[in-house]
Symmetry: C2
Protein backbone atom coordinates (compact mmCIF):
# COMPACT_ATOMS: atom_id res chain seq x y z
CA UNK A 1 0.00 0.00 0.00
CA UNK A 2 1.18 3.52 -0.83
CA UNK A 3 0.11 6.86 0.59
CA UNK A 4 -0.25 9.22 -2.38
CA UNK A 5 -1.14 12.43 -0.61
CA UNK A 6 -2.20 13.88 2.71
CA UNK A 7 -4.01 17.05 3.71
CA UNK A 8 -5.00 18.37 7.11
CA UNK A 9 -7.63 20.81 8.32
CA UNK A 10 -7.64 22.79 11.53
CA UNK A 11 -10.42 25.18 12.45
CA UNK A 12 -9.60 28.90 12.66
CA UNK A 13 -10.83 29.64 16.18
CA UNK A 14 -7.95 29.59 18.66
CA UNK A 15 -7.98 29.17 22.44
CA UNK A 16 -4.83 30.12 24.34
CA UNK A 17 -3.77 29.15 27.82
CA UNK A 18 -5.10 32.43 29.23
CA UNK A 19 -8.62 31.18 28.39
CA UNK A 20 -8.16 28.24 30.74
CA UNK A 21 -6.86 30.53 33.43
CA UNK A 22 -10.18 32.39 33.16
CA UNK A 23 -12.51 29.38 33.08
CA UNK A 24 -10.60 26.78 35.11
CA UNK A 25 -8.06 28.78 37.12
CA UNK A 26 -5.06 27.06 35.51
CA UNK A 27 -1.79 29.00 35.22
CA UNK A 28 -0.76 29.44 31.55
CA UNK A 29 2.87 28.65 32.37
CA UNK A 30 1.83 25.53 34.30
CA UNK A 31 -0.14 24.29 31.27
CA UNK A 32 2.81 24.94 28.95
CA UNK A 33 5.28 23.25 31.25
CA UNK A 34 3.08 20.18 31.82
CA UNK A 35 1.85 19.68 28.24
CA UNK A 36 3.86 21.86 25.86
CA UNK A 37 0.58 23.43 24.73
CA UNK A 38 0.23 27.15 24.02
CA UNK A 39 -2.89 27.15 21.83
CA UNK A 40 -5.57 24.81 20.46
CA UNK A 41 -7.75 25.21 17.37
CA UNK A 42 -11.41 24.74 18.15
CA UNK A 43 -14.39 23.93 15.91
CA UNK A 44 -16.67 26.90 15.34
CA UNK A 45 -20.45 26.87 15.71
CA UNK A 46 -21.79 24.65 12.91
CA UNK A 47 -18.53 22.73 12.50
CA UNK A 48 -18.39 19.09 13.53
CA UNK A 49 -16.55 15.86 12.79
CA UNK A 50 -18.30 15.45 9.42
CA UNK A 51 -17.72 19.04 8.21
CA UNK A 52 -14.06 19.04 9.33
CA UNK A 53 -13.43 15.71 7.61
CA UNK A 54 -14.93 17.13 4.40
CA UNK A 55 -12.67 20.20 4.68
CA UNK A 56 -9.63 17.93 4.82
CA UNK A 57 -10.92 16.00 1.80
CA UNK A 58 -11.45 19.28 -0.10
CA UNK A 59 -7.80 20.13 0.55
CA UNK A 60 -6.70 16.64 -0.51
CA UNK A 61 -8.57 16.32 -3.82
CA UNK A 62 -6.48 18.86 -5.84
CA UNK A 63 -3.32 16.96 -4.80
CA UNK A 64 -4.54 13.52 -5.94
CA UNK A 65 -2.60 11.71 -8.67
CA UNK A 66 -5.94 10.21 -9.82
CA UNK A 67 -9.58 11.28 -10.10
CA UNK A 68 -11.47 11.31 -6.81
CA UNK A 69 -14.15 9.20 -8.57
CA UNK A 70 -11.65 6.33 -8.57
CA UNK A 71 -11.91 5.91 -4.80
CA UNK A 72 -13.48 2.49 -4.14
CA UNK A 73 -13.27 2.62 -0.35
CA UNK A 74 -13.76 5.38 2.23
CA UNK A 75 -12.86 4.79 5.87
CA UNK A 76 -13.74 7.35 8.53
CA UNK A 77 -11.78 7.39 11.80
CA UNK A 78 -13.05 9.19 14.89
CA UNK A 79 -13.99 8.75 18.54
CA UNK A 80 -15.91 12.03 18.66
CA UNK A 81 -18.76 11.44 16.20
CA UNK A 82 -21.24 14.08 15.12
CA UNK A 83 -23.64 11.48 13.72
CA UNK A 84 -23.12 7.75 14.15
CA UNK A 85 -25.69 6.97 11.43
CA UNK A 86 -24.92 9.52 8.69
CA UNK A 87 -21.35 9.00 9.75
CA UNK A 88 -18.05 10.62 8.79
CA UNK A 89 -17.47 8.07 6.00
CA UNK A 90 -21.06 8.47 4.76
CA UNK A 91 -20.74 12.28 4.79
CA UNK A 92 -17.52 12.11 2.77
CA UNK A 93 -19.08 9.71 0.26
CA UNK A 94 -22.07 12.05 -0.04
CA UNK A 95 -19.78 15.05 -0.49
CA UNK A 96 -17.65 13.39 -3.16
CA UNK A 97 -20.83 12.08 -4.81
CA UNK A 98 -19.41 8.64 -5.60
CA UNK A 99 -22.24 6.08 -5.52
CA UNK A 100 -21.95 2.47 -4.40
CA UNK A 101 -18.38 2.24 -3.14
CA UNK A 102 -17.38 0.65 0.15
CA UNK A 103 -17.70 2.90 3.20
CA UNK A 104 -17.09 2.23 6.87
CA UNK A 105 -15.86 3.87 10.06
CA UNK A 106 -13.31 2.82 12.59
CA UNK A 107 -13.45 4.07 16.17
CA UNK A 108 -10.74 2.89 18.54
CA UNK A 109 -9.78 6.01 20.49
CA UNK A 110 -6.48 7.62 19.46
CA UNK A 111 -5.29 4.57 17.54
CA UNK A 112 -8.23 4.90 15.11
CA UNK A 113 -6.14 6.38 12.28
CA UNK A 114 -3.64 3.52 12.28
CA UNK A 115 -6.46 0.99 12.65
CA UNK A 116 -8.19 2.58 9.64
CA UNK A 117 -4.98 2.43 7.58
CA UNK A 118 -4.53 -1.22 8.56
CA UNK A 119 -8.16 -1.97 7.61
CA UNK A 120 -7.55 -0.32 4.20
CA UNK A 121 -4.51 -2.57 3.78
CA UNK A 122 -6.82 -5.53 4.49
CA UNK A 123 -9.28 -4.50 1.75
CA UNK A 124 -6.33 -4.21 -0.65
CA UNK A 125 -5.03 -7.63 0.44
CA UNK A 126 -8.47 -9.09 -0.39
CA UNK A 127 -8.41 -7.39 -3.80
CA UNK A 128 -11.47 -5.33 -2.81
CA UNK A 129 -9.79 -1.91 -3.04
CA UNK A 130 -7.20 -0.21 -5.24
CA UNK A 131 -7.77 3.43 -4.25
CA UNK A 132 -8.81 4.17 -0.69
CA UNK A 133 -9.52 7.35 1.23
CA UNK A 134 -8.96 7.46 4.97
CA UNK A 135 -10.47 10.48 6.71
CA UNK A 136 -9.76 11.10 10.35
CA UNK A 137 -11.51 13.82 12.32
CA UNK A 138 -11.94 14.73 15.97
CA UNK A 139 -14.26 17.19 17.61
CA UNK A 140 -12.96 16.76 21.15
CA UNK A 141 -14.43 20.05 22.35
CA UNK A 142 -17.97 18.80 21.62
CA UNK A 143 -17.52 16.26 24.43
CA UNK A 144 -14.91 17.88 26.73
CA UNK A 145 -15.53 20.39 29.51
CA UNK A 146 -13.43 23.55 29.53
CA UNK A 147 -13.89 23.91 33.31
CA UNK A 148 -12.56 20.41 34.01
CA UNK A 149 -9.22 21.21 35.66
CA UNK A 150 -7.81 17.74 35.03
CA UNK A 151 -8.19 17.58 31.24
CA UNK A 152 -10.44 20.34 29.86
CA UNK A 153 -7.44 22.31 28.55
CA UNK A 154 -5.86 19.44 26.63
CA UNK A 155 -8.14 19.15 23.63
CA UNK A 156 -8.11 20.55 20.13
CA UNK A 157 -10.19 19.79 17.04
CA UNK A 158 -9.05 18.94 13.52
CA UNK A 159 -9.03 16.50 10.63
CA UNK A 160 -6.81 14.87 8.06
CA UNK A 161 -7.37 12.96 4.81
CA UNK A 162 -4.97 10.41 3.33
CA UNK A 163 -5.20 8.96 -0.18
CA UNK A 164 -4.03 5.36 -0.55
CA UNK A 165 -3.21 3.24 -3.55
CA UNK A 166 -2.49 -0.48 -3.82
CA UNK A 167 0.41 0.21 -6.20
CA UNK A 168 2.84 3.15 -6.46
CA UNK A 169 1.47 5.89 -8.71
CA UNK A 170 4.18 8.55 -8.57
CA UNK A 171 7.81 8.67 -7.45
CA UNK A 172 6.72 10.81 -4.48
CA UNK A 173 4.34 8.24 -3.00
CA UNK A 174 5.14 6.97 0.46
CA UNK A 175 5.33 3.20 0.61
CA UNK A 176 3.80 1.72 3.75
CA UNK A 177 6.45 -0.79 4.81
CA UNK A 178 4.55 -2.03 7.85
CA UNK A 179 1.64 -1.32 10.17
CA UNK A 180 1.29 -2.99 13.57
CA UNK A 181 -1.54 -2.38 16.02
CA UNK A 182 -2.54 -3.81 19.35
CA UNK A 183 -4.99 -3.47 22.18
CA UNK A 184 -3.76 -3.05 25.74
CA UNK A 185 -7.10 -3.02 27.54
CA UNK A 186 -5.69 -5.39 30.16
CA UNK A 187 -2.86 -3.00 31.12
CA UNK A 188 -2.83 -0.59 34.07
CA UNK A 189 -6.00 1.47 34.51
CA UNK A 190 -7.09 1.03 30.87
CA UNK A 191 -10.77 0.87 31.78
CA UNK A 192 -10.59 4.17 33.67
CA UNK A 193 -7.71 6.04 32.06
CA UNK A 194 -9.71 8.15 29.62
CA UNK A 195 -13.50 8.02 29.24
CA UNK A 196 -15.77 9.36 26.52
CA UNK A 197 -19.33 8.53 27.41
CA UNK A 198 -21.58 10.36 24.95
CA UNK A 199 -24.74 10.03 27.09
CA UNK A 200 -23.06 9.71 30.46
CA UNK A 201 -20.80 12.71 31.06
CA UNK A 202 -18.67 13.19 27.96
CA UNK A 203 -14.86 13.25 27.87
CA UNK A 204 -12.77 12.91 31.04
CA UNK A 205 -9.31 11.69 31.96
CA UNK A 206 -9.55 10.47 35.55
CA UNK A 207 -6.20 8.67 35.49
CA UNK A 208 -3.89 10.91 33.49
CA UNK A 209 -0.72 9.62 35.15
CA UNK A 210 -1.48 6.01 34.22
CA UNK A 211 -2.20 7.09 30.63
CA UNK A 212 1.03 9.11 30.58
CA UNK A 213 3.19 6.20 31.70
CA UNK A 214 1.58 3.62 29.43
CA UNK A 215 1.72 5.97 26.43
CA UNK A 216 5.48 6.32 26.84
CA UNK A 217 6.01 2.62 27.42
CA UNK A 218 3.81 1.34 24.55
CA UNK A 219 4.88 3.91 21.94
CA UNK A 220 8.54 3.23 22.73
CA UNK A 221 8.23 -0.53 22.55
CA UNK A 222 6.06 -0.69 19.40
CA UNK A 223 8.49 1.74 17.70
CA UNK A 224 11.50 -0.42 18.55
CA UNK A 225 9.61 -3.52 17.43
CA UNK A 226 8.52 -2.22 14.03
CA UNK A 227 12.00 -0.84 13.28
CA UNK A 228 13.62 -4.14 14.20
CA UNK A 229 11.03 -6.18 12.25
CA UNK A 230 11.92 -4.18 9.15
CA UNK A 231 15.68 -4.19 9.60
CA UNK A 232 16.06 -0.55 10.57
CA UNK A 233 17.35 1.39 13.56
CA UNK A 234 16.39 4.78 14.94
CA UNK A 235 19.41 6.21 13.07
CA UNK A 236 17.68 5.40 9.76
CA UNK A 237 14.68 7.62 10.59
CA UNK A 238 14.16 11.03 8.96
CA UNK A 239 11.11 11.81 11.05
CA UNK A 240 9.31 10.35 14.04
CA UNK A 241 5.66 11.32 14.57
CA UNK A 242 4.32 10.19 17.95
CA UNK A 243 0.68 10.56 19.01
CA UNK A 244 0.21 14.30 19.56
CA UNK A 245 -1.10 14.18 23.13
CA UNK A 246 1.48 15.92 25.24
CA UNK A 247 4.99 17.23 24.53
CA UNK A 248 6.38 15.58 27.66
CA UNK A 249 5.13 12.19 26.47
CA UNK A 250 6.67 12.78 23.02
CA UNK A 251 10.03 13.84 24.51
CA UNK A 252 10.08 10.85 26.84
CA UNK A 253 9.45 8.48 23.93
CA UNK A 254 12.21 10.20 21.92
CA UNK A 255 14.54 9.73 24.89
CA UNK A 256 13.62 6.04 25.22
CA UNK A 257 14.42 5.60 21.52
CA UNK A 258 17.66 7.65 21.63
CA UNK A 259 16.10 9.77 18.90
CA UNK A 260 17.80 13.11 18.09
CA UNK A 261 15.22 15.68 19.18
CA UNK A 262 15.28 17.49 15.79
CA UNK A 263 13.68 14.39 14.20
CA UNK A 264 10.70 14.60 16.56
CA UNK A 265 7.63 16.01 14.77
CA UNK A 266 5.13 17.89 16.90
CA UNK A 267 2.09 20.15 16.60
CA UNK A 268 0.81 19.77 20.15
CA UNK A 269 2.13 23.25 21.08
CA UNK A 270 -0.24 24.89 18.59
CA UNK A 271 -3.07 22.36 18.19
CA UNK A 272 -3.38 20.59 21.54
CA UNK A 273 -4.44 16.94 21.57
CA UNK A 274 -6.40 16.44 18.34
CA UNK A 275 -7.02 12.79 19.09
CA UNK A 276 -6.55 10.20 16.38
CA UNK A 277 -6.14 13.00 13.78
CA UNK A 278 -3.08 14.56 15.42
CA UNK A 279 -0.38 12.33 13.91
CA UNK A 280 -2.00 12.55 10.49
CA UNK A 281 -2.18 16.36 10.61
CA UNK A 282 1.52 16.42 11.53
CA UNK A 283 2.29 13.99 8.69
CA UNK A 284 0.42 16.15 6.15
CA UNK A 285 2.32 19.22 7.36
CA UNK A 286 5.80 17.75 6.75
CA UNK A 287 4.73 15.83 3.60
CA UNK A 288 6.28 18.21 1.06
CA UNK A 289 9.52 18.69 2.97
CA UNK A 290 10.41 14.98 3.19
CA UNK A 291 13.25 14.06 0.82
CA UNK A 292 13.32 10.98 -1.40
CA UNK A 293 14.04 7.76 0.56
CA UNK A 294 13.16 9.41 3.87
CA UNK A 295 12.02 6.87 6.46
CA UNK A 296 9.07 8.04 8.59
CA UNK A 297 7.79 6.36 11.74
CA UNK A 298 4.41 7.09 13.30
CA UNK A 299 3.56 5.66 16.72
CA UNK A 300 0.25 6.07 18.54
CA UNK A 301 -1.32 5.30 21.88
CA UNK A 302 -4.96 5.65 22.75
CA UNK A 303 -7.04 5.61 25.90
CA UNK A 304 -8.74 2.30 26.30
CA UNK A 305 -5.78 1.32 25.83
CA UNK A 306 -4.57 0.62 22.30
CA UNK A 307 -1.44 1.37 20.32
CA UNK A 308 0.16 1.05 16.93
CA UNK A 309 3.00 2.04 14.63
CA UNK A 310 3.46 2.60 10.90
CA UNK A 311 6.71 2.74 9.00
CA UNK A 312 6.76 4.50 5.60
CA UNK A 313 9.43 5.27 3.02
CA UNK A 314 9.24 8.18 0.59
CA UNK A 315 9.39 6.94 -2.99
CA UNK A 316 9.69 3.41 -1.63
Amino acid sequence: MHICSAAGYTPTRVLDNAFFQQVAGLEPEWIKERTGMETRHIAAEGENTNTMGIKAVEALVPQLPFDAEEFDLIIGASYTPYDTIFSLAHAVQHHLDIPDIQVLNVSTACSSLLNALEVAEGYMAMGKSKRALVVSAEHNTAYAHFRDKASGHLWGDGAVALALSAEALTSKDHKVLSIKTGGAATAGKASQGVLLRPWDGGLFMPNGRDVFLHAISYMSSISKEILEDNGFTVNDLSAFIPHQANMRISRNVAKELDLPIEKLVSNVDRLGNTGNAGCGIAYAKIWESLPMDALVLMAVFGGGYSYGAMLCKVGG
Copy 2:
Protein backbone atom coordinates in the same frame (compact mmCIF):
# COMPACT_ATOMS: atom_id res chain seq x y z
CA MET B 1 -13.08 -17.53 6.75
CA HIS B 2 -15.33 -19.73 8.85
CA ILE B 3 -17.84 -18.85 11.55
CA CYS B 4 -17.34 -21.37 14.36
CA SER B 5 -20.05 -20.27 16.76
CA ALA B 6 -22.53 -17.53 17.50
CA ALA B 7 -24.31 -16.41 20.66
CA GLY B 8 -26.78 -13.62 21.26
CA TYR B 9 -27.84 -11.65 24.31
CA THR B 10 -31.07 -9.77 24.84
CA PRO B 11 -31.87 -7.91 28.05
CA THR B 12 -34.72 -9.18 30.19
CA ARG B 13 -36.79 -6.00 30.49
CA VAL B 14 -39.64 -6.01 27.95
CA LEU B 15 -41.68 -3.11 26.58
CA ASP B 16 -44.91 -3.96 24.78
CA ASN B 17 -46.94 -1.82 22.40
CA ALA B 18 -49.27 -0.74 25.21
CA PHE B 19 -46.31 1.17 26.72
CA PHE B 20 -46.09 3.33 23.58
CA GLN B 21 -49.82 3.92 23.71
CA GLN B 22 -49.28 5.35 27.19
CA VAL B 23 -46.25 7.52 26.44
CA ALA B 24 -46.72 8.43 22.76
CA GLY B 25 -50.42 7.82 22.08
CA LEU B 26 -49.74 5.15 19.45
CA GLU B 27 -52.31 2.38 18.93
CA PRO B 28 -50.84 -1.08 19.69
CA GLU B 29 -52.53 -2.60 16.64
CA TRP B 30 -51.26 0.23 14.42
CA ILE B 31 -47.67 -0.42 15.61
CA LYS B 32 -48.04 -4.15 14.95
CA GLU B 33 -49.54 -3.63 11.50
CA ARG B 34 -46.91 -1.08 10.42
CA THR B 35 -43.81 -2.78 11.87
CA GLY B 36 -44.66 -6.33 12.92
CA MET B 37 -43.44 -5.45 16.41
CA GLU B 38 -45.18 -6.67 19.56
CA THR B 39 -42.39 -6.27 22.14
CA ARG B 40 -38.80 -5.04 22.45
CA HIS B 41 -36.13 -6.01 24.99
CA ILE B 42 -34.61 -2.99 26.68
CA ALA B 43 -31.34 -2.56 28.56
CA ALA B 44 -31.80 -2.26 32.31
CA GLU B 45 -30.25 0.41 34.51
CA GLY B 46 -26.50 -0.22 34.51
CA GLU B 47 -26.55 -2.13 31.22
CA ASN B 48 -24.92 -0.58 28.17
CA THR B 49 -23.27 -1.51 24.87
CA ASN B 50 -20.13 -2.76 26.63
CA THR B 51 -21.93 -4.88 29.25
CA MET B 52 -24.32 -6.38 26.68
CA GLY B 53 -21.43 -7.24 24.35
CA ILE B 54 -19.68 -8.97 27.24
CA LYS B 55 -22.86 -10.97 28.02
CA ALA B 56 -22.92 -12.25 24.44
CA VAL B 57 -19.22 -13.17 24.71
CA GLU B 58 -19.90 -15.01 27.98
CA ALA B 59 -22.55 -17.07 26.16
CA LEU B 60 -20.17 -17.70 23.24
CA VAL B 61 -17.07 -18.86 25.13
CA PRO B 62 -18.43 -22.27 26.29
CA GLN B 63 -19.32 -23.08 22.65
CA LEU B 64 -15.88 -22.28 21.21
CA PRO B 65 -13.95 -25.08 19.45
CA PHE B 66 -10.72 -23.44 20.75
CA ASP B 67 -9.55 -21.60 23.86
CA ALA B 68 -10.71 -18.00 24.10
CA GLU B 69 -7.05 -17.08 24.71
CA GLU B 70 -6.39 -17.96 21.06
CA PHE B 71 -8.31 -14.92 19.82
CA ASP B 72 -5.81 -12.63 18.09
CA LEU B 73 -8.32 -9.99 16.95
CA ILE B 74 -11.43 -8.46 18.55
CA ILE B 75 -13.71 -6.22 16.50
CA GLY B 76 -16.56 -4.35 18.13
CA ALA B 77 -19.52 -3.19 16.03
CA SER B 78 -21.98 -0.56 17.23
CA TYR B 79 -23.50 2.82 16.40
CA THR B 80 -24.76 3.32 19.98
CA PRO B 81 -21.54 3.47 22.01
CA TYR B 82 -21.38 3.61 25.77
CA ASP B 83 -17.76 4.75 25.76
CA THR B 84 -15.88 5.64 22.58
CA ILE B 85 -12.51 5.47 24.38
CA PHE B 86 -12.82 2.36 26.58
CA SER B 87 -14.81 0.98 23.68
CA LEU B 88 -16.78 -2.22 23.12
CA ALA B 89 -13.71 -3.99 21.70
CA HIS B 90 -11.53 -2.72 24.56
CA ALA B 91 -14.12 -3.83 27.14
CA VAL B 92 -14.28 -7.32 25.63
CA GLN B 93 -10.47 -7.59 25.55
CA HIS B 94 -10.39 -6.47 29.19
CA HIS B 95 -13.08 -8.99 30.13
CA LEU B 96 -11.38 -11.90 28.36
CA ASP B 97 -8.04 -10.78 29.84
CA ILE B 98 -6.03 -11.41 26.67
CA PRO B 99 -3.14 -8.94 26.51
CA ASP B 100 -1.66 -7.41 23.35
CA ILE B 101 -3.96 -8.70 20.63
CA GLN B 102 -5.44 -6.53 17.90
CA VAL B 103 -8.62 -4.66 18.87
CA LEU B 104 -10.72 -2.18 16.93
CA ASN B 105 -14.30 -1.03 16.46
CA VAL B 106 -16.40 -0.54 13.37
CA SER B 107 -19.32 1.88 13.35
CA THR B 108 -21.29 2.20 10.12
CA ALA B 109 -24.92 2.26 11.26
CA CYS B 110 -26.86 -0.99 10.70
CA SER B 111 -24.29 -2.42 8.30
CA SER B 112 -21.63 -2.41 11.05
CA LEU B 113 -21.80 -6.19 11.68
CA LEU B 114 -21.15 -7.07 8.03
CA ASN B 115 -18.47 -4.38 7.82
CA ALA B 116 -16.82 -5.90 10.91
CA LEU B 117 -16.94 -9.41 9.43
CA GLU B 118 -15.42 -8.08 6.18
CA VAL B 119 -12.68 -6.29 8.15
CA ALA B 120 -11.92 -9.58 9.97
CA GLU B 121 -11.64 -11.26 6.57
CA GLY B 122 -9.13 -8.56 5.61
CA TYR B 123 -6.96 -9.26 8.68
CA MET B 124 -7.04 -12.97 7.77
CA ALA B 125 -6.13 -12.16 4.14
CA MET B 126 -3.09 -10.22 5.44
CA GLY B 127 -2.11 -13.18 7.64
CA LYS B 128 -2.61 -11.01 10.73
CA SER B 129 -5.40 -13.08 12.28
CA LYS B 130 -6.34 -16.74 12.57
CA ARG B 131 -9.01 -16.54 15.30
CA ALA B 132 -11.18 -13.45 15.45
CA LEU B 133 -14.04 -12.38 17.67
CA VAL B 134 -16.68 -10.00 16.32
CA VAL B 135 -18.96 -8.52 18.97
CA SER B 136 -21.94 -6.45 17.92
CA ALA B 137 -24.07 -4.55 20.42
CA GLU B 138 -26.67 -1.82 20.28
CA HIS B 139 -28.17 0.25 23.05
CA ASN B 140 -30.67 2.14 20.91
CA THR B 141 -32.82 3.14 23.86
CA ALA B 142 -29.94 5.17 25.34
CA TYR B 143 -30.24 7.57 22.40
CA ALA B 144 -33.91 7.20 21.32
CA HIS B 145 -36.92 9.02 22.74
CA PHE B 146 -39.92 6.92 23.76
CA ARG B 147 -42.26 9.90 23.22
CA ASP B 148 -41.09 10.43 19.62
CA LYS B 149 -44.18 9.31 17.66
CA ALA B 150 -42.23 8.81 14.42
CA SER B 151 -39.64 6.32 15.64
CA GLY B 152 -39.49 6.06 19.46
CA HIS B 153 -41.34 2.72 19.44
CA LEU B 154 -39.06 1.01 16.91
CA TRP B 155 -35.96 0.31 18.96
CA GLY B 156 -34.72 -2.61 20.99
CA ASP B 157 -31.35 -3.37 22.61
CA GLY B 158 -29.18 -6.47 22.31
CA ALA B 159 -25.87 -8.02 21.35
CA VAL B 160 -24.29 -10.92 19.53
CA ALA B 161 -20.82 -12.49 19.42
CA LEU B 162 -19.40 -14.46 16.51
CA ALA B 163 -16.22 -16.54 16.59
CA LEU B 164 -14.25 -16.68 13.35
CA SER B 165 -11.44 -18.90 12.17
CA ALA B 166 -9.25 -18.64 9.07
CA GLU B 167 -9.60 -22.38 8.49
CA ALA B 168 -12.43 -24.84 9.22
CA LEU B 169 -12.15 -26.28 12.72
CA THR B 170 -15.20 -28.55 12.94
CA SER B 171 -17.65 -30.05 10.49
CA LYS B 172 -20.32 -27.72 11.86
CA ASP B 173 -18.48 -24.48 11.01
CA HIS B 174 -20.19 -22.14 8.57
CA LYS B 175 -17.96 -21.26 5.65
CA VAL B 176 -18.24 -17.62 4.60
CA LEU B 177 -18.53 -17.91 0.82
CA SER B 178 -18.72 -14.18 0.20
CA ILE B 179 -19.24 -10.80 1.84
CA LYS B 180 -20.11 -7.68 -0.14
CA THR B 181 -20.69 -4.24 1.34
CA GLY B 182 -21.36 -0.80 -0.07
CA GLY B 183 -22.18 2.76 0.87
CA ALA B 184 -25.20 4.49 -0.60
CA ALA B 185 -24.79 7.92 0.94
CA THR B 186 -25.55 9.52 -2.42
CA ALA B 187 -28.98 7.85 -2.67
CA GLY B 188 -32.32 9.42 -1.79
CA LYS B 189 -32.44 11.22 1.55
CA ALA B 190 -29.41 9.37 2.95
CA SER B 191 -28.13 12.41 4.84
CA GLN B 192 -31.49 12.89 6.61
CA GLY B 193 -33.03 9.40 6.67
CA VAL B 194 -31.94 8.38 10.15
CA LEU B 195 -29.85 10.53 12.50
CA LEU B 196 -27.97 9.65 15.67
CA ARG B 197 -26.30 12.78 16.97
CA PRO B 198 -24.92 11.96 20.42
CA TRP B 199 -24.56 15.60 21.51
CA ASP B 200 -27.22 17.09 19.25
CA GLY B 201 -30.55 15.37 19.88
CA GLY B 202 -29.95 11.63 19.83
CA LEU B 203 -31.69 9.12 17.56
CA PHE B 204 -34.41 10.19 15.11
CA MET B 205 -35.83 8.98 11.82
CA PRO B 206 -37.14 12.08 10.04
CA ASN B 207 -37.52 10.34 6.66
CA GLY B 208 -38.81 6.87 7.46
CA ARG B 209 -40.47 6.36 4.08
CA ASP B 210 -37.24 7.06 2.18
CA VAL B 211 -35.39 4.62 4.45
CA PHE B 212 -38.15 2.03 3.97
CA LEU B 213 -38.00 2.20 0.16
CA HIS B 214 -34.20 2.19 -0.07
CA ALA B 215 -33.92 -0.67 2.43
CA ILE B 216 -36.15 -2.85 0.25
CA SER B 217 -34.39 -1.87 -2.95
CA TYR B 218 -30.80 -2.26 -1.71
CA MET B 219 -31.33 -5.48 0.28
CA SER B 220 -33.09 -7.05 -2.71
CA SER B 221 -30.43 -6.08 -5.23
CA ILE B 222 -27.39 -6.98 -3.10
CA SER B 223 -29.03 -10.35 -2.31
CA LYS B 224 -29.57 -11.13 -6.00
CA GLU B 225 -26.03 -9.99 -6.78
CA ILE B 226 -24.26 -12.11 -4.17
CA LEU B 227 -26.31 -15.20 -5.08
CA GLU B 228 -25.52 -14.77 -8.77
CA ASP B 229 -21.83 -14.04 -8.11
CA ASN B 230 -21.60 -17.37 -6.29
CA GLY B 231 -23.64 -19.42 -8.75
CA PHE B 232 -26.72 -19.84 -6.58
CA THR B 233 -30.39 -18.93 -6.82
CA VAL B 234 -32.95 -18.13 -4.14
CA ASN B 235 -34.11 -21.77 -4.40
CA ASP B 236 -30.77 -22.90 -2.99
CA LEU B 237 -31.28 -20.94 0.24
CA SER B 238 -32.21 -22.63 3.52
CA ALA B 239 -32.57 -19.35 5.38
CA PHE B 240 -32.62 -15.66 4.55
CA ILE B 241 -31.86 -13.18 7.36
CA PRO B 242 -32.60 -9.58 6.39
CA HIS B 243 -31.79 -6.58 8.59
CA GLN B 244 -34.28 -6.77 11.46
CA ALA B 245 -35.79 -3.30 11.15
CA ASN B 246 -39.41 -3.82 10.22
CA MET B 247 -41.43 -6.89 9.22
CA ARG B 248 -42.94 -5.08 6.24
CA ILE B 249 -39.47 -4.33 4.87
CA SER B 250 -38.46 -7.98 5.36
CA ARG B 251 -41.63 -9.28 3.64
CA ASN B 252 -41.17 -6.87 0.73
CA VAL B 253 -37.58 -8.03 0.23
CA ALA B 254 -38.73 -11.67 0.38
CA LYS B 255 -41.35 -10.86 -2.27
CA GLU B 256 -38.78 -9.14 -4.51
CA LEU B 257 -36.60 -12.24 -4.25
CA ASP B 258 -39.48 -14.73 -4.75
CA LEU B 259 -38.42 -16.25 -1.46
CA PRO B 260 -40.83 -18.74 0.17
CA ILE B 261 -41.93 -16.95 3.34
CA GLU B 262 -41.03 -19.89 5.61
CA LYS B 263 -37.34 -19.30 4.77
CA LEU B 264 -37.51 -15.73 6.09
CA VAL B 265 -35.89 -15.44 9.53
CA SER B 266 -37.21 -12.73 11.83
CA ASN B 267 -37.04 -11.58 15.43
CA VAL B 268 -38.40 -8.07 14.93
CA ASP B 269 -41.79 -9.07 16.38
CA ARG B 270 -40.20 -9.81 19.78
CA LEU B 271 -37.04 -7.67 19.79
CA GLY B 272 -37.83 -4.60 17.68
CA ASN B 273 -35.03 -3.02 15.67
CA THR B 274 -31.82 -4.01 17.45
CA GLY B 275 -29.67 -2.18 14.92
CA ASN B 276 -26.55 -3.85 13.54
CA ALA B 277 -26.94 -6.67 16.09
CA GLY B 278 -30.37 -7.79 14.85
CA CYS B 279 -29.28 -10.08 12.02
CA GLY B 280 -26.56 -11.61 14.16
CA ILE B 281 -28.97 -12.33 17.03
CA ALA B 282 -31.30 -14.03 14.52
CA TYR B 283 -28.37 -16.02 13.10
CA ALA B 284 -27.31 -17.20 16.57
CA LYS B 285 -30.90 -18.28 17.29
CA ILE B 286 -31.20 -20.58 14.23
CA TRP B 287 -27.55 -21.75 14.41
CA GLU B 288 -28.24 -25.17 15.95
CA SER B 289 -31.23 -25.93 13.74
CA LEU B 290 -29.43 -25.43 10.41
CA PRO B 291 -28.70 -28.75 8.69
CA MET B 292 -25.40 -29.70 7.00
CA ASP B 293 -24.91 -27.92 3.65
CA ALA B 294 -27.59 -25.32 4.44
CA LEU B 295 -27.02 -22.09 2.52
CA VAL B 296 -27.70 -18.95 4.58
CA LEU B 297 -27.95 -15.41 3.22
CA MET B 298 -27.81 -12.30 5.39
CA ALA B 299 -28.60 -8.90 3.88
CA VAL B 300 -28.45 -5.57 5.68
CA PHE B 301 -29.28 -1.94 5.13
CA GLY B 302 -28.35 0.93 7.37
CA GLY B 303 -29.28 4.56 7.70
CA GLY B 304 -26.64 6.77 6.22
CA TYR B 305 -27.09 4.79 3.81
CA SER B 306 -25.03 1.59 3.57
CA TYR B 307 -25.76 -2.04 2.78
CA GLY B 308 -24.21 -5.47 2.53
CA ALA B 309 -24.75 -9.19 2.18
CA MET B 310 -23.04 -12.36 3.38
CA LEU B 311 -23.47 -15.87 2.04
CA CYS B 312 -22.54 -18.81 4.27
CA LYS B 313 -22.69 -22.57 3.96
CA VAL B 314 -22.96 -24.95 6.90
CA GLY B 315 -20.02 -27.36 6.92
CA GLY B 316 -18.76 -25.69 3.77
